[in-house]
């Protein structure tokens, strides 16, 4: 059995289901996937309730490894964050840079909370962490933003539900391109801010350190990581979504290591056969 604790974007888009089927066939193993925000995904692993995490929050990934829970980090895919909103764009943020857009949504939201809303994940997910970072970069204290009025809506729900809520409220939200593409046909939302600093979103796989939890299935976690970065795994990631929505949902990490800021041994290289035996607490 391999227990994977994953972020919702990889799961809600259906990518992991597809990889799971293939992987189970290859290794004759039962793969169990639990999805949640990056915060809870990491927490489950810290409690020993997972063998492998697939997440997207560099700061918390580093902490997870530094505290000894994680064996090593392997980047395997990336996409981008975007700010989406109603096509009419009532706050007029199109063409702005990210910080200007965040500032404008906040100012106009405070002035007219019935018309301008920002819907936040509010669940300590990787996307929520990025949103906090973007408020910080725009020059605001997150706690003040979150308590500055009813224009700021904390959903406390996964990405898909948050998108549906944003669409119903005709609001704005921060979303990853993959989940947005997967839900787009159900939404009255369009991407408004698609380029900018701090919008890159890198997914990493980290096996749980067997020196901390000896009962963890490190070998199978290592096999899964190595499948993700194999030729087959990387081309599956590169093509996933073409059939269903007409274009790929994720970008494979291989060949883009510099762009996504992953160092050589982190970037899409397989873990050594004896990696699990070399683990130290």
């Amino acid at each position: 059995m391999l227990r994977i604790s994953t972020t919702t974007s990889l799961y809600d888009t259906g990518l992991l289901d597809e990889i799971e089927d293939i992987f189970e066939g290859l290794y004759n193993v039962d793969v169990q996937i639990v999805s949640g925000g990056t915060g809870i995904a990491i927490e489950r692993a810290e409690k020993g309730d997972a063998d492998l995490i697939l997440v997207h929050d560099l700061a918390r990934e580093r902490k997870f490894i530094e505290e000894g829970y994680g064996l090593s980090r392997t980047c395997f895919a990336y996409n981008y964050f975007i700010i989406v909103g109603p096509e009419a764009d009532p706050a007029g943020i199109k063409e702005m840079n990210v910080s200007e857009a965040m500032k404008t949504i906040m100012e106009q939201g405070i002035a007219d909370p019935d018309k301008i809303k920002f819907v936040s994940r509010g669940d300590d997910s990787g996307t929520h962490a990025r949103e906090k970072l973007l408020w910080d970069r725009a020059g605001f204290n997150y706690t003040e933003v979150a308590t500055s009025g009813r224009w700021y809506v904390e959903a406390g729900q996964p990405m898909g539900q948050t998108l549906l809520m944003t669409s119903e409220m005709r609001g704005y939200t921060l979303c990853d391109t993959s989940t947005f593409a997967a839900y787009r046909s159900d939404l009255d939302l369009v991407p408004l801010i698609e380029e900018g600093d701090d919008l890159l979103n890198v997914y990493a796989a980290i096996p749980v350190n067997p020196a901390v939890y000896p009962e963890t299935n490190c070998e199978m976690a290592r096999n899964f990581v190595n499948y993700l970065v194999s030729d087959e795994g990387q081309s599956l990631i590169a093509e996933y979504g073409t059939e269903t929505i007409g274009k790929p949902l994720f970008n494979p990490a291989r060949g883009n290591c510099d762009l996504i800021g992953c160092s050589g041994d982190e970037c899409s290289v397989p873990l050594a056969d004896d990696r699990c035996n070399m683990a130290e607490a």
């Binding site: 949640g36 925000g37 809870i40 809506v153 904390e154 406390g156 729900q157 539900q161 409220m169």
Partner: protein, 231 residues
């Protein structure tokens, strides 16, 4: 086990210190469930009375149907109300989705069958002697009905309290229609679901203790009402 014990201690502290988040979420939960229960009771107690005091073809079928709906799945009610209140739905223009009033609508629908059905059961529990006595003493039809309802009031109160308990403890409608928005539609059940999933076990436990305590109080009240009725 340590985590559970530590969580319980911390939860007790939060409740005793009247932690603002705990108070806010509890108040919101009570307000929404009480409003739903009041509306459902006003609508369904008369309906229950009408069904009980009238004989018509298919009455048994109607009563059976109502009893089947006691266990109406909350997520099904959530789904239907979501579709009705959504912007693309027939009631979309009222903007009720993801509001407390939207939750009230969903919960009202959810608990109407149980209050109606138990009202009928309460009225059926009043023996024919009561009615005969009232009529023999010269009561009009309405006076007789009034006498029977007065006789069944404890059991009817129990019906309403059970409806309240279901409204307070359900999570499907609250999550799907309310959307669990902090400070607006976040109630005990949705907050517990969220805080557990983001790892704030202490807050979850504090809210869980409150929820169980309220359920316990409601249950005691129900028992008391039924005790009076049977004694």
């Amino acid at each position: 086990m340590d985590e559970i014990a530590a969580g319980l201690v911390r939860a007790a502290e939060m409740i005793l210190a009247l932690d603002p988040t705990v108070v806010e979420i509890t108040t919101k939960s009570l307000a929404i469930a009480l409003t739903s229960t009041a509306i459902a009771a006003i609508l369904t107690v008369p309906i229950g009375g009408l069904i009980h005091f009238h004989n018509f073809r298919g009455k048994r079928v109607v009563v059976n149907l109502i009893q089947t709906l006691y266990s109406l799945p909350t997520v099904t009610v959530g789904l239907v109300v979501f579709l009705l209140l959504s912007r693309s739905g027939p009631l979309g223009s009222f903007g009720l989705l993801f509001t407390p009033w939207g939750m009230v609508i969903g919960q009202t629908i959810l608990i109407m069958p149980i209050i109606t059905g138990l009202t009928i059961a309460a009225l059926s529990g009043v023996g024919p002697a009561v009615r005969d006595t009232a009529v023999s003493l010269g009561a009009s039809k309405f006076q007789a009905i009034f006498t029977i309802m007065a006789e069944a009031r404890a059991a009817m109160l129990a019906a309403v309290l059970l409806g309240f308990g279901r409204a307070l403890s359900e999570v499907g409608v609250a999550m799907m229609i309310g959307g669990n928005i902090r400070g607006y539609t976040r109630v005990l059940t949705t907050a517990i679901a969220l805080e557990t999933s983001r790892g704030d076990v202490e807050l979850s436990m504090a809210l869980g203790i409150i929820l169980i305590s309220i359920s316990l109080i409601v249950n005691l009240l129900v028992n008391r009402a039924q005790g009076n009725w049977w004694s």
